[in-house]
């Protein structure tokens, strides 16, 4: 056992250096793309990269293309790019994080108009994960503020996903109370009174809910909820889609400064456009992201519950505004916890 391990350990650097030699001698273009993404997309992009590289290989049989992945919290990943990580493409949880990169001049500020559908090739929504059989009878947002219900959601200050959760709850409360911001704030405050733990990331919250057995309901991205049910126990949890919830649009963009320096613009753009093709959309749908393409959406329509969906632009006037009102220092989220 150990010998095998030792052999593998020795073989890895050897193989690595050998592959370097081979690719150099083969006078072919050797391209590496770096996709800096957020936590929940690991599975999606490992599938997508394989498929994209296979297709690309058919047209460029002599060349090699490597797509490297980097994952972490969406905000932290954006900072890494700002601080110099040479990402060819960024695929993050919210537009605000890519706006922050654009604000430092790494890509055009109108980046969101460069690709269809707000540069979000797939979408998701916010749903509830509850224990099997839904013992607390949780159906809608109202049920989350009932006394004695324990709600698990990550900290909106450190998790992009949690910001979607917060805004979904706010949007619901606003609609319920005829647009009264005051009542919406009371609602969200009551909701967070029921939150016993604020994990720093979405996956941390999932693990608190699933592994530590804490809480009655987990607020999560739809794709995360499906993934955790499949990975951690189909017989232990149910997914409840609330009748009114937010459209989460994780955006993608090419980082101009990096691709122009590395000369990878063409391939980086092709990579992102691939997300919009039927194959790309299929892969997204298989990974529980809602596809944009009507044909693919039709094919997978049984997979995603029907619900009334509002967008961040409709209700909040875009990310920049929402970020400032709710999540900046002294914003509404801080007010909820200030007394």
């Amino acid at each position: 056992m150990f010998r095998r391990l030792a052999k593998a350990l020795l073989a890895a650097p050897l193989a690595l250096s050998l592959s370097g030699v081979v690719s150099q001698s083969a006078h072919a273009a050797d391209t590496t793309l770096l996709n800096v993404s957020y936590d929940p997309t690991r599975e999606l992009y490992s599938d997508l990269n394989k498929s994209f590289i296979a297709g690309w290989k058919k047209d460029h049989p002599a060349d090699t293309l490597t797509i490297r992945q980097s994952h972490g919290g969406s905000g932290a990943q954006a900072r890494t790019v700002i601080d110099g990580l040479e990402a060819d493409v960024v695929t993050l949880a919210l537009a605000y994080d890519i706006d922050a990169i654009a604000a430092r001049g790494l890509l055009a500020t109108d980046w969101q108009k460069r690709l269809p559908d707000n540069s979000s090739p797939y979408t998701s929504t916010i749903v509830f994960l509850v224990r099997k059989g839904n013992p607390k009878g949780i159906k809608d947002w109202d049920d989350l503020v009932k006394p004695g219900i324990k709600v698990i959601t990550p900290n909106p200050k450190t998790s992009g996903g949690a910001r979607w959760n917060f805004l979904a709850a706010w949007g619901y409360a606003l609609k319920q109370n005829g647009g009264s911001e005051e009542k919406a704030q009371d609602f969200v405050k009551a909701l967070f009174k029921n939150v016993p733990v604020l994990d720093t990331g979405a996956r941390g919250s999932t693990i608190t809910f699933v592994e530590r057995g804490l809480g009655d309901v987990l607020i999560a991205w739809e794709n995360e909820a499906y993934l955790s049910v499949n990975e951690l126990g189909p017989d232990k949890f149910d997914i409840v889609t609330p009748p009114y919830t937010i459209l989460a649009e994780p955006p993608v963009a090419v980082v101009d400064k990096v691709v122009d320096k590395k000369g990878t613009r063409a391939i980086a753009e092709a990579y992102l456009k691939y997300l919009y093709t039927p194959e790309g959309q299929e892969i997204a749908a298989r990974n529980y992201y809602r596809p944009r393409l009507a044909a693919v959406a039709e094919k997978y329509k049984d997979k995603f519950a029907k619900t009334q969906i509002f967008t961040i632009d409709d209700v909040f006037g875009g990310w920049a505004k929402a970020q400032k009102t709710f999540f900046a220092d002294g914003g509404i989220f801080d007010k909820i916890y200030s007394n």
């Binding site: 733990v197 592994e211 916890y337 200030s338």
Partner: protein, 288 residues
């Protein structure tokens, strides 16, 4: 101690006492240079970033109730954890150095696990154990004691990361202590308790203070293991390093460094006082 050098040093007002041992200039110079490159210059960058803020803004950030609370949590619980470690760490160290028992060597090795285990793994493992459905948490839950996701959980995590500091700083000193001293004390009629109190403790005291200081210092900055077990509720179980991360997430680097600078300055002062105390007891025991 060479009495010649001591008297000369006491009278002179020079930077250092004269000694027959060579190499001071070289080693001191190298120490300061390397220290500057690795520690001081990077930390200066931290301070420099903070100067982007106006003084009023700086004060506003560090005196905000939320910041003060997070600092109090970090410093208070680290101090408590260092105390726990000073007491139990000394017992552990004593058992390891002075007694022979089955499995002693394995126990000795286990003490270092907190250094080797990535803090995140420690946090996950401790949370799994002390959560209400964990091995230990399920035993404590009927008693009404909650550890995971409360400030008590932070204490457990900080005791975990700090323990080896106490044990490993004191252990070599006790191991090096010649038993002749104790035998001499006993033959002069001292009881075992008196011998330990008067002979052994004064010798290990400086090292124990160092261990305490290091465990304390380590606890203040700890992040990886704490965030898993703390619950991270603002104004309850939110630690200062988490608040730094929160500020970074808001893309407010200068605000983050402001909190970092305050933590740095405070822990520097605390460490300095403890080190002065330690040097003082050191000199007292060697000079007498």
């Amino acid at each position: 101690m060479g009495h010649g050098s001591v008297t000369a040093g006491r009278q002179s007002i020079s930077f250092r006492r004269r000694s027959v041992i060579p190499g001071f200039g070289l080693t001191f110079g190298l120490t300061v240079t390397w220290l500057s490159l690795i520690v001081l210059i990077p930390l200066a960058a931290l301070v420099l970033k903070t100067t982007e803020l106006s003084f009023e803004r700086f004060v506003a950030i560090v005196t905000a109730p939320r910041t003060l609370h997070a600092l109090a949590v970090s410093f208070g619980i680290s101090f408590a954890a260092a105390l726990v470690n000073a007491v139990f760490g000394t017992l552990v160290m004593w058992a390891l150095v002075r007694y022979d028992f089955p499995g002693r060597r394995l126990v000795d090795a286990i003490v270092d696990v907190p250094f080797a285990l990535p803090t995140a793994v420690a946090g996950i493992a401790l949370t799994a154990l002390y959560a209400e459905n964990g091995w230990i948490g399920s035993l404590l839950a009927p008693l009404g004691i909650k550890v995971a996701f409360t400030p008590l959980g932070i204490l457990v995590a900080l005791v975990f990361v700090g323990l080896p500091f106490v044990v490993r700083t004191v252990q070599p000193v006790l191991a090096d202590l010649d038993k002749q001293y104790e035998e001499a004390a006993a033959s002069l009629g001292a009881s075992r308790g008196q011998t330990i109190w008067r002979v052994v403790l004064p010798t290990i005291w400086p090292a124990l203070l160092t261990g305490f200081a290091l465990a304390f210092a380590r606890g203040i900055g700890e992040y990886g293991s704490v965030i898993f077990i703390a619950g991270n509720m603002p104004n309850v179980s939110e630690i200062a390093p988490l608040l730094i991360v929160v500020r970074l997430e808001e893309f407010r680097y200068a605000d983050a460094t402001a909190i970092a600078v305050v933590m740095l300055a405070t822990s520097f002062i605390l460490l300095f006082i403890i080190n002065r105390l330690q040097q003082w007891t050191e000199r007292r025991t060697t000079e007498r």
